[in-house]
Amino acid sequence: MNLMIELIRSTFLAAVPILLASLGGTYTYYADIFNIAMEGMLLIGAFAAVLGSYFSGSWLIGLLAGVSGGILAAIIFTLFAVYLKTDEFVTGIALNLFALGATTYLLRQIFSVKGAFTSSDIIALPDWHIPIIDKIPIIGELLSGYPFLLYISFLIAILVEFHIFKTRFGLRLRATGEDDSTVDSVGINSDLIKSKAILLSGALSGLGGVFLSLAYVNMFAENMSNGRGWIALAVIILTRGRPIGLLFMALLFGFFDGLGFALQNTFIPSQFTQMVPYLATLAALYFYSKQKKEKIKEELEDESMAV
């Protein structure tokens, strides 16, 4: 396997946790909930997945446990932010800190290890070898043999796009985000819509955690989400929550992550190459905003001409 193929493969793999967490965050973005808890939900999801897989010996139970872990975190968030009306930002911080503390504590209590837990009894998600494509030389290496959750994640991105923009729930969700009192005034419970949005974000972030601990690697390490939830948040703000845009940005981020490593064996200092993914994000933000600005300007000009 040469470096180019490896770079592309790692692009797909590194993109998935960010993609899933950001797809989750999209729901709360449209519901106008400032959700910064994806980081914690990822971590809890990753831990719960290892817990489930280890004790049941089944990756399916592991996957379900991971998703449930994310949902559990989301229930806490919902309870405080929606029903008790606490500050969303503070609740998010609390949840992230709680996730780190709780998983570290439980790791020590349940598995009696600190740092990382590895075991051959943790059953990983199976890889999917696409039947015919798998046999084609380079294309097979590029497209086949990933954990099956990777393919599903890309599918979920399309489904989320559809769910938010083409369904009744999506319309209500976006309306809640625009003005929840109006939604309430027509007899729809906006709190319920918000709760659903948070639960969906928890489930998808939990799934991202499952990908981290049962697919990309097969272990749990303290703080293994390592900022991916925050990157997901940045990606959402960057693309203003368009799922297809998220897919693109997550892939871009995954690519630059790998490229940063590859550039280290050149003349470029490693401190600089570690900045590459973040510089790329800033650059993308710049061009995106510029384009947006020009578009608005054009629209304004069109309007003035119409007048």
Partner: protein
């Protein structure tokens, strides 16, 4: 009257306590900036402390700071109040506090582990591990593996790799020694390194390792703490090889982790305590623990024997002995 009586009893108890304290055998405290249970560095130190407690009939205590900077001063203060005579301390991040306390309590023996710390009165003794020597041996092993085409998964290219947690002097010292070891066996060997930029992210470790393997590396030395667990996993998945660090990680991926570069903190602590007991101990010195002193070295066990041949292991052993005898000089990283 009753009140005075209880006060009297309390005073008596207090006096008895102080007397018993001063009459008690030596007290040894072990202060660590992190926490026990890492199955590596800190735990190794604890084994040394336990050995002291067992063999010398002394009281020992371990104070864990859990990387909480607020606890650093407390830990020193409580060790002093506990009347510790000897304080073994791993003081990353609070070297200045250690200096202050050592200056305030010149009668106590402070032994700083793994870094060199000097206070004004020069009472701190430092135990410094020669990472370069252990890493040299890791380089020797890696070179033997990449040159042995009969090993499963080894390619023709003479490339070996390393994954560091981040760019810092300790990691660069490891890489420096690793390169020397590889070049000692074969000058043509190319060493590729990636700094993962994080110590807690096995996902990134695996990503970095996959990349090195895809560039033709046959074996990777992980020097990245938890990030390195991902390196070991990548070795197994790519059907390649890896070298563990700090503790014996050979069993983590059987058949793929050839050996581990150990740091025997416990042996060093025990050795220093022995020298205190037999009177050869001097305050304010820097004690170097390399291969000769048993401070660093490779973990060669049945997992190594499953991968390497008897001849190869003997060769590794011979080179290690030559370093111990001083016949091979490993250059230090400045």
């Amino acid at each position: 009257m009753k009140k005075y009586f209880s006060l009297f009893i309390l005073t008596v108890i207090f006096l008895l306590l102080t007397v018993s304290v001063s009459a008690a055998p030596m007290r040894v405290a072990y202060i660590i900036n992190g926490a026990l249970g890492d199955q590596s560095f800190y735990d190794s130190g604890q084994r040394g402390i336990d050995q002291i407690a067992e063999e010398y009939d002394v009281k020992t205590t371990t104070i864990e700071c859990n990387f909480d900077t607020a606890k650093y001063q407390q830990s020193l203060q409580s060790a002093v109040q506990w009347n510790a005579d000897v304080i073994f301390i791993i003081s990353y991040g609070f070297e200045d506090l250690l200096k202050q306390y050592a200056d305030m309590y010149p009668d106590k023996i402070f032994v700083n582990i793994d870094t060199v710390v000097k206070n004004n009165q020069n009472t701190i003794t430092s135990v410094d591990f020669i990472e370069e020597e252990g890493a040299f041996m890791a380089g020797v092993t890696a070179a033997i593996v990449t040159n042995d085409l009969t090993l499963e998964g080894v390619n023709k290219e003479k490339i070996i790799g390393s994954v560091g947690g981040d760019k810092d002097p300790v990691i660069d010292a490891f890489i420096f020694g690793y390169k020397q070891g590889a070049e000692y066996i074969d000058e043509e060997i190319e060493v590729k390194n990636i700094y993962a930029g994080t110590w807690t992210d096995p996902v990134k470790g695996k990503q970095a390792a996959n990349q090195l393997y895809s560039q033709g590396a046959d074996i990777i030395f992980q020097i990245a703490s938890l990030t390195g667990n991902g390196v070991l996993e990548a070795a197994a998945e790519n059907n390649k090889y890896a070298i563990g660090v700090d503790s014996n990680q050979n069993a983590m991926e059987p058949g793929h982790v050839v050996t581990s570069d150990l740091k025997n903190v416990g042996d060093a602590i025990y050795g220093v305590y022995q020298s205190i007991v037999d009177g050869s101990f001097e305050k304010g010195k820097v004690l170097e623990y390399g291969i000769k002193e048993g401070g660093v070295g490779l973990a060669i066990d049945e997992y190594t024997h499953d991968i390497l041949s008897e001849d190869q292991i003997n060769m590794i052993q011979r080179i290690s002995d030559l370093i111990a005898k001083g016949e091979i000089e490993v250059e230090r990283y400045e």
